[in-house]
């Protein structure tokens, strides 16, 4: 089996709000000093799901990790390689820059077609930067494959993939034929943490770099020029920060003061 993991490098979502800055002129996030970008956490979980299937299938199975991004995205690829993926592909081209979810899916689909023999693609349920959660589904539409989203469990057998999906109030197990795209949620569990020998081994694994011409893409169809959705304004919302702290020498006094306030406001 050939499984693909789509991995995105993003600004660390645990960046403290005080260090989170926006350049309103370019509608972009200013990298916080001293905080390295990371592999989007949901993509790490997607990699875990793919690796578990590979391990259940034996030696002739392969996991390829694909990332579209700048040269720095090699770090995200290396992380998934250290987890146990076999090969990496970096989709790096000026033409890809400034795109939306649609153009991202278009480039990823072209890369998956380029690989040729892919049985299933695993994505995080959403990237933890723009939080859109649509590239996996757009990819399944581009490829005309089945899809199952927001998985907390994934199993493979007899040419079918069965996915336990998270619903608003419960779970649902669905089965679909391959090839398929699966998006994986945090309910799946924590991804494995690579140890030093695996990180060393990952450094030796192949990472192929591909651009628009390698994939047969017209540069005007991708990136900013192919985008259908434009960010017109990116800003930090103002928060209401007139907090009133309860005074008192003991927790009992503070609690009593709070209960009084809540009663006065008719909240309890």
């Amino acid at each position: 089996m050939h499984l693909v993991v789509c991995a995105k490098q993003i600004p660390d979502p645990d960046t403290p709000p005080s260090a989170f800055k926006i350049d309103e002129a370019t509608n972009s996030v200013v990298p916080a000093p001293g905080i390295s970008p990371i592999l989007s956490q949901f993509d790490g979980i997607a990699a875990e799901a793919a690796l578990r299937i590979k391990e259940s299938q034996g030696d002739d199975s392969k996991v390829t990790v694909i990332s579209m991004g700048a040269d720095s995205a090699r770090a995200a690829i290396k992380q998934v390689l250290a987890m146990g993926a076999d090969e990496g592909v970096l989709l790096n081209d000026e033409a890809f820059e400034g795109g939306d979810s649609y153009t991202t899916a278009k480039v990823l689909a072209a890369a998956i077609n380029h690989l040729g023999d892919v049985d299933a693609v695993f994505c995080g349920r959403q990237a933890a930067d723009w939080d859109m959660g649509q590239v996996g589904l757009l990819l399944s539409e581009e490829l005309n494959w089945a899809s199952a989203i927001i998985a907390k469990g994934v199993e493979y057998g007899d040419g079918n993939i069965s996915v336990q999906r998270v619903l608003t109030d419960g779970f649902e197990t669905v089965s679909t034929q391959l090839p398929a795209v699966v998006t994986v949620s945090n309910e799946f569990g924590e991804p494995r943490y690579p140890k030093l020998p695996q990180i060393m081994a990952a450094a030796k694994k192949t990472v192929t770099q591909l651009g628009a011409s390698d994939l047969g893409l017209d540069p005007s169809d991708v990136g900013a020029s192919g985008s259908r959705l434009k960010v017109e304004r990116l800003y930090i919302p103002e928060t209401d920060s007139n907090v009133e702290f309860m005074e008192g020498d003991t927790p009992q006094e503070q609690a009593a003061a709070l209960v009084q306030k809540l009663q006065a406001d008719k909240l309890i």
Binding site: P13, D14, P17, F20, D100, S101, Y102, D131, M132, G133, Q134, L137, L138, E142, A146, A148, I149, I150, S162, L167, T168, D169, G170, F171, E172, T173, V174, S175, T176, N186, E187, S227, R228, L229, V231, E232, R233, L234, Y235, I236, P237, T239, D240, S241, V243, E244, F245, M246, T250, P251, Q252, Q254, A255, A256, L258, V259, K261, D265, L267, I268
Partner: protein, 323 residues
């Protein structure tokens, strides 16, 4: 400028869901005199259509095959409603339906979708969609290069219309066709009693509690306020650690709640969490960290260790209830 809007509705126990009614209220004001269509699929759809205040036309099919959501079956039916209503804007709830239909419909119509929006505006016929991003640290306003503009909308972004007329006409959509997806099993994981989305008070525990057992005290706070009034929530960190069931998770990847009172105990107030509760009327924090992000959203706060504050609070709440 008038716009035609199509709302992809959902049924909840045979009636139009709350979010469907919210979307119709939003659609009604956005349409500026254009048509407002609503699609309803599944058992009870035709009769539920009458309650859709704000809609001018309903597109329905009562096939119970639609009751379990399968994206490919729904998309085929929705395509019929799109063709018939020529919408400028399509609105869908940010539910399991919207998360799948939004992107797939956008691709099939050669257009784009903005996911998880909190406001939609009609600026002289151009649709603008605003949504939180970067885990709630930022907001982005989007414009569309293609038509129709499609948006999935977060729960409680619009207020339901209390009065008005329902659809003047109804059109029949096709019944469910084949699906590539087979549903093998479903498992309900609803909590008993009051649901967190409906509760006027939500008491929420976070990672700072340090242990699963501490949720017993969070439940005691809710009980002291009243079981008919207060429900218990948990942050994603607490749920991921297995301290509380996923059905109670509040936040970006959990539920959105807008109670009158949101009491956050040992919750740091990460943007991803606040995305699920910042619409609450009054937020109160109990946290030992003077620098915690929760204070940026709070009306009242107690700085202190919850292990001391919570027992005192439970006692004071019980006293107050006794008066």
């Amino acid at each position: 400028m008038a716009q035609n809007i199509l709302v992809i509705g959902e049924l909840d126990g045979g009636a139009a869901s709350t979010t469907t009614l919210e979307l119709l209220a939003g659609a009604s004001s956005l349409s500026d005199g254009g048509t407002v269509g609503v699609t309803l699929l599944g058992a009870g759809a035709s009769s539920a259509a009458a309650s859709c205040i704000g809609a001018t036309v309903a597109y329905v099919n009562d096939d119970s095959e639609y009751d379990s959501f399968r994206g490919d079956q729904w998309l085929n039916a929705i395509a019929g409603a799109v063709e018939s209503s020529s919408p400028d804007v399509v609105l869908i709830a940010q539910s399991i339906v919207g998360r799948e239909i939004g992107p797939r419909l956008s691709h099939r119509l050669g257009t784009a979708v903005a996911m998880d929006c909190v406001s939609i505006s009609n600026e002289g016929g151009a649709t603008k969609a605003t949504r939180p991003c970067f885990g709630g640290n930022a907001m982005a306003t989007y414009g569309f290069e293609t038509s129709p503009a499609i948006a999935t909308v977060r729960a409680k972004s619009f207020e339901i219309l209390e009065s008005g007329s329902g659809p003047a006409s109804t059109e029949e959509l096709p019944g469910a066709g084949e699906s590539r997806t087979v549903i093998i099993a479903t498992e309900e994981a609803t909590s008993e009693g009051l649901q967190i989305q409906d509760a006027p008070v939500v008491v929420c525990g976070g990672r700072g509690l340090g242990e699963a057992e501490a949720f017993g005290q969070i439940e005691e706070i809710a009980a002291a306020i009243g079981v008919d009034k207060a429900a218990v929530g948990a942050s994603r960190a607490a749920v991921d650690l297995g301290w509380y069931p996923p059905s109670q998770q509040v936040g970006l990847t959990g539920k959105v709640v807008t109670p009158d009172l949101y009491l956050a105990v040992a919750v740091s107030g990460a943007s991803q969490h606040m995305a699920g509760c910042s619409g609450s009327k009054t937020i109160v924090g109990i946290n030992r960290d003077e620098e915690a992000n929760i204070w940026s959203f709070s009306r009242y706060g107690i700085i202190g260790d919850y292990k001391q504050v919570v027992p005192a609070l439970i006692e004071e709440l019980k006293k107050a209830a006794g008066n």
